[in-house]
């Protein structure tokens, strides 16, 4: 059984006002008695705590810059917490931005192996799923062509097929619903629902309120890095849309 515990999680970004400090500035500042602060701290996520248990389908809503994606990336270990603790139990699939790590010069097949390795698949697993990935992406003809010659749709199809080829315990989604033509979209949506059904835990960030309501059984509303509300989808989405914190 998978679970996620987040305790007082805070993530700080340092924003430099002018530019990144050069080596010269660094040493110059070392010897200055009063250091002028050329940066300010920005807390993208501040003091967030929650627990997610097996079976939870969590949607995260909030305005742009509320810290939703930063929170997801922290769960996937991309960002280290500045304060607080995250403990994740279960294999987590980073489906944040599919196609990250594709190399344009490599062929589709080579990218399956390169990107597959980055996604954490073993070589044996990859050789097993390779035909299925190619078939799902409908790229049999072009699989040995460098992906820089692919159309956007072809690229998306390959990335989506590969990223969704395995069933993770914990599924983390950041606003992805694959591109491609209508037929592929339908197929992709069916696969996505299957993946969500089989996942032990699903966490998604989306601005599509209908989607959140239909897929999730719990919604967290993030506002300026904090959890503003946490509860049933109908209730929270309604309040979020109305812009009201309390009832």
């Amino acid at each position: 059984m998978s679970s996620i515990h987040v305790e007082n999680l805070s993530i700080k970004f340092r924003i430099y006002h002018d530019r990144s400090p050069s080596l010269k500035d660094y040493f110059a500042n070392l010897f200055k008695r009063q250091r002028q602060t050329a940066y300010s701290d920005f807390w993208a996520v501040k003091d967030v705590s929650f627990q997610i248990r097996a079976g939870d389908r969590v949607g995260i809503v909030g305005h742009n810059g509320a810290g939703k994606s930063t929170l997801l990336k922290a769960l996937c270990r991309v960002y280290e917490s500045s304060d607080g603790k995250i403990s994740v139990d279960g294999r987590i699939a980073p489906l944040l931005e599919i196609g990250a790590g594709f190399h344009p010069e490599f062929t589709g097949r080579e990218n399956i192996y390169l990107n597959g390795a980055i996604l954490g698949y073993t070589k044996q697993q990859l050789s097993v799923i390779e035909p299925e990935v190619i078939a799902f992406a409908e790229l049999e003809e072009f699989i040995d062509t460098p992906v820089k010659y692919y159309s956007t749709g072809m690229y998306m199809r390959l990335a989506f097929s590969l990223a969704t080829a395995m069933h993770p315990d914990i599924l983390v989604l950041d606003e992805i619903f694959a591109g491609g033509d209508a037929a592929f979209m339908a197929k992709a949506r069916a696969r996505m629902h299957d993946l969500i059904d089989k996942a032990n835990i699903m966490i998604m960030v989306s601005h599509d309120q209908q989607l959140v309501k239909s897929l999730c059984n719990r919604v967290i509303w993030m506002d300026r890095g904090r959890v503003a509300a946490d509860g049933s989808p109908e209730d929270i989405v309604e309040r979020y849309l109305a812009g009201k914190l309390n009832g």
Partner: protein, 262 residues
């Protein structure tokens, strides 16, 4: 500390598949769609060194064949070292897209560069070695020392590569500084000349140059047909251990900050 080291090594072990993919990416990509392909990795340094051998043998009025063997033996470790230091500087910056999207143990980025360069270097060593034999270099059992020399050079270069890779993320100017510094270091390293030939005001600098023992490690078996002296081996071993220690220390301390500064 013990569990930290274990989880660090465990993670590295788990991501060996990514590591080997990144290494082959580096090896394959450079010469894709060129007629000679990977052969360029061999031809390029061969031609470069031949030109240098020709020019400097004439300049120094030295016997071309002897000088060529002398030069090649010094250039092999130098080329590896200097490419590691300059190329690992941009290893995190060039993979920014990946690092910000997916968690991977950060050390695989500089490590993949050093591993790919080691393969390049070993192959061009074989080609050069063939040439050394053909033009009358001496073949002796001392050549069997070369893998050990490579091992020590590998860890020495990796340690310094880790430092430059981390430092360049924080101070972007470094990638340009390093290029110039390596140019200068080249002339302070006895590659074109013998160790005692550089006199005058800068001679003492050669004494402090940490690359010197590694040049000797390769030059003794290839040029002098003898094993390096024990003191040189000891120096090189100490240097590679301390380089690796300091490199890892800096890397492990800064690792978590890298993603915020890309």
């Amino acid at each position: 500390m013990k569990t930290n080291a274990r989880s660090f090594l465990g993670e590295l072990h788990n991501s060996r598949n990514v590591l080997s993919q990144l290494v082959s990416q580096q090896l394959i990509l450079r010469y894709r769609r060129t007629a000679l392909g990977y052969l360029w990795t061999l031809i390029n340094p061969l031609l470069m060194m031949s030109v240098m051998a020709l020019v400097f043998a004439t300049l120094f009025k030295a016997d071309l064949k002897t000088f060529a063997v002398f030069l090649f033996a010094g250039m092999i470790p130098w080329n590896f070292f200097s490419s590691v230091v300059t190329q690992s500087g941009t290893s995190f910056i060039n993979n920014e897209g990946l690092i910000k999207k997916i968690y991977l143990p950060k050390i695989i980025f500089p490590l993949s560069i050093v591993a790919a360069l080691l393969i390049d270097s070993a192959l061009s060593f074989l080609a050069l070695f063939a040439i050394i034999i053909i033009i009358g270099g001496s073949l002796s059992w001392a050549v069997l020392f070369i893998p050990i020399a490579y091992l020590m050079l590998f860890f020495f270069a990796l340690g310094i590569g880790l430092i430059t890779s981390v430092a360049t993320v924080f101070f972007r100017d470094l990638q340009h500084v390093v290029l110039i510094a390596m140019q200068g270091l080249f002339f302070l390293t006895p590659i074109l000349y013998k160790h005692d030939a550089l006199g005058g005001k800068v001679a003492w600098l050669v004494g402090f140059n940490p690359v010197v023992p590694f040049i000797e490690l390769f030059r003794a078996p290839l040029y002098l047909a003898s094993l390096p002296s024990p003191s040189v081996i000891l120096q090189a071993a100490l240097l590679s251990l301390s380089s690796m220690f300091i490199g890892l220390l800096i890397f492990l301390r800064q690792e978590r900050k890298i993603v915020f500064r890309l």
